[in-house]
Symmetry: C2
């Protein structure tokens, strides 16, 4: 029957199988230097006792945890689910696990994420940065703890990876200019959002690169409501024939706002969003968007840590471009 002992160790298995502890260990790791029939005997003993290797003993001996820590200041952020899918997939590939931690954002510092992780069984850590940490310039990763930041900002001591927001804006603006628009209006986001501000900068710079003075932007707050208000405001501007919204919810609201003022989309005004977050609910070709590969971002981060196998590999900075998708070519309800 089931053992009543707290936990079954190699010692118990060894005793039952009539071999040494080392042979048990070798069987667990399927070493070729154990005779098949011995292995089978050991395996039978393991089954009978319900042996499972103890992680703590193993890590203590090996000095490695085979685990990557992920620190998030804000778990329910756009794209986090895809990123996690990427983390988990990459970890799986390397035989690693993922430890998820929510970090209090007061203060919003890399140090707080780092110290939170330092007591956990992890070999390296990933920090998802949504805002600018107060100590970004001065932060030093813990010695021996490979640290990857998910951000476009380059850090001298930590590898970084993120969606390329500049490229995103460049793609959108050039796509719209290619369609013959003379300029592109922008609905921005709260100033504390790093990625949003990078999109804004990209928009501004791309227009400048084409010799166009960026029009006055409309500041939104990520919600469709703010997009709606922006759409209504822009509907009265005769120079506004193309709008780039910093996310899809605002883009959607903007379309509704334009329509409420009698404008037609895309006949009168072209609208492009970012994030591909509406799934398939925009049913026609009114909205193009930029689809990011957050899964790949997540995989890159974990690959960097788990793939290095403890070797301190050099600092790298990776930007992953998004893909502009046009509503009607990708999905259409009709």
């Amino acid at each position: 029957m089931a053992a009543v002992k707290k936990s079954v160790s190699v010692k118990d298995v060894a005793r039952l199988a009539g071999v040494s502890e080392q042979t048990v260990s070798r069987t667990v790791h399927d070493s070729p230097s154990v005779r098949p029939e011995t292995k089978e005997r050991v395996r039978a003993a393991m089954r009978e006792l319900g042996y499972r290797p103890n992680f703590a003993g193993r890590s203590l001996r090996r000095g490695k945890f085979k685990t990557v820590g992920v620190a998030m200041f804000n778990i329910t952020g756009t794209g986090n689910l895809d990123r996690m899918e990427g983390f988990a997939a990459a970890a799986d590939k390397h035989g690693y696990a993922i430890t998820l931690t929510k970090v209090d954002g007061h203060p919003y510092t890399l140090e707080s994420a780092s110290s939170r992780m330092s007591a956990l069984p992890v070999d390296g850590m990933v920090v998802i940065m949504n805002r600018m940490p107060a100590d970004f310039g001065t932060f030093e990763p813990l010695p021996g703890m490979q640290t990857v930041l998910v951000t476009m900002l380059e850090h001298p001591l930590c590898s970084t990876v993120d969606n390329d927001q500049f490229d995103c804006s460049r793609q959108v603006v050039e796509y719209l200019l290619r369609q013959g628009h003379k300029t592109v209006h922008f609905i921005s986001c709260p100033e504390r959002s790093l990625s949003g501000m990078q999109r804004e900068e990209g928009w501004r710079e791309t227009l400048h690169a084409h010799g166009i003075e960026p029009p006055r932007l409309v500041r939104g707050d990520w919600t469709a409501q703010s997009g709606y208000a922006a759409g209504q405001a822009l509907a009265d501007d005769p120079t506004c024939t193309a709008i780039y919204a910093s996310n899809d919810a605002m883009a959607y609201g903007c379309i509704r706002g334009l329509e409420s003022r009698g404008k037609h989309v895309p006949e009168d005004v072209s609208v492009v969003g970012v994030d591909d977050s509406l799934g398939d609910i925009v049913p026609d070709r009114r909205l193009a968007t930029v689809r990011f590969d957050n899964r790949r971002v997540g995989m890159w981060a974990v690959d960097k840590i788990a793939g290095a196998e403890g070797v301190v590999s050099g600092v790298e900075h990776m930007l992953i471009p998004g893909v502009l998708v046009e509503g009607d070519t990708v999905r259409d309800l009709r």
Copy 2:
């Protein structure tokens, strides 16, 4: 300068501070039986050497990991982000960490999730069930591993927690009947989805309870496209004045489908969805939905494990009701 040693242990700190290892340990745990000045000396040594307690040594000694494992067959599922937020919040509260694992769904069994977890440093595990595992009836949790399943189905050996899908359907159907509709049509989902089938069952039973024979349902596939098709089909049915869609994307598509056939929502037909997944993008009172508290589901699951502190508490089954929210009362773009 920084120590070049692989890792700093209590021994190193003890040597530098001129105390025993035990006193260092006591200082780490802020034991009252260490003189304040000794503590300060030890703390100074810890700072100087950059000491951080080793998780493996600690867990090995204590026999506990203070970690809860979360197994998901599918990471990017509706509501998972909120659930994770709940996991992390509850874990935080108890001083626990969360270890996330993606389980291959071939075969889709609880056993595969369980064995995946058994080698990881966790004291208990949560399994998120989207479908019916092949071994649901026969599964036994690992001895000593408190196991919580996120599902509405009750398991004899594992505690369970989930959104109450029956209650969700009851709320929706009774809400619509209260508005004077004679019956409620249903747009369902792929048959492998447990929660979707439970919504369907709830819809059917609630109608029966009110003496109404459920009309023929329209099977969708979660996408707005399928909702669109369903809406067009139902637009021609004169008995159809109220539609309950199994998620918001289909509800949204359905509205567009109805409108494409000249029906007005909500004047001619009432539409209700589930999940509150559209955020604020449905800009008027055309759509009501049911908002689930997945954060609370996640918290309950982790509380059950981390709150028990290793004591094997009894099996419990928890259902958490959603809240029906009407578009116009909660948010309105106008």
